[in-house]
Assembly symmetry: C2
Homo-oligomer: 134 residues x 2
DNA sequence: TTAATATACGACCGATGTAGTCCACTTTCA
DNA sequence: TGAAAGTGGACTACATCGGTCGTATATTAA
């Protein structure tokens, strides 16, 4: 019906893994990849995106790795998702991209009802934070 | 973040269009396609799927077309979506396809929290029926 | 200072899914 | 009987996804 990407799935698993460690402890991408059998390079990219959006902090070089950049309570699941999947914010094109790309925008009759559904889904993701999935 | 396909979008527009007509009135795919600028052949396929799942009834031959097969109140949006997108019922693979295809199934730590989100989304779609989007 | 270990990042590939098109067929009614 | 309608399979173009590869850069321990 509606699906989160593997990247998001890996991202959630990874950031949850980091969150289970004592605060400040650094975890390597390799450790996470090995633990869950996730392709290392792919996971790295995901972690880099999470880093860029400030959810986790990276430490380069030997004995480097990743740690949370804020307490778990301040990391809503919605942020994790949007950090990884930049675009695709809405369940239908018109809600996120508007008349430029949606071919039926002006005559579309389902925008307003879907806005409600959209809000519902967003609430589902934004009210749940990292501390609740640890 | 999460997106419905164009087919679903067209299906919602179409079935809503049918629902606005007096009960029992027959609407052709062409009329719908022309009204909303939707590719005719694509819309046809979508309507065929809605027919097969018993949400609308088709009438072949000249002066044929489509009409609702039940009152709008008995057509939840969730049924429209699953009729068109048969597969992909869950936000993550493991929730719909299980250990056969999910590579991290046994070690995945996010299944149970996501089940809650999943239920939330399903409720959003299943509690809204066609009569509410007309 | 150097080797090892780690992240950063762009290029690339194959599989899959999506949107759309084309065409032949069947059904029905005027 | 012919026009108008749905049925349905094959096909294409394109985007996205999942994954891989190679290289550069940063850090630290020896």
């Amino acid at each position: 019906m509606i699906r989160l990407s593997k990247k998001v799935e890996y991202g959630l698993i990874a950031i949850r893994h980091i969150a289970t460690k004592p605060a400040g402890e650094i975890v390597t991408a390799k450790e996470i990849a090995d633990t869950y059998g996730i392709p290392y390079e792919l996971l790295s990219k995901v972690l880099q995106k999470l880093t860029k959006s400030g959810l986790i902090a990276s430490h380069q070089g030997m004995r480097g790795g990743y740690a949370l950049a804020r307490p778990p309570v301040e990391i809503p699941v919605s942020l994790i998702i949007s950090a990884i999947e930049g675009t695709r914010q809405a369940i239908v094109q018109c809600l996120s991209e508007g008349p430029q790309t949606c071919t039926v925008f002006t005559v579309c009759t389902i925008k307003s009802p879907l806005t409600k559904v959209q809000a519902n889904i967003e609430r589902a993701f934004s009210t749940m934070n990292l501390s609740e999935i640890v």
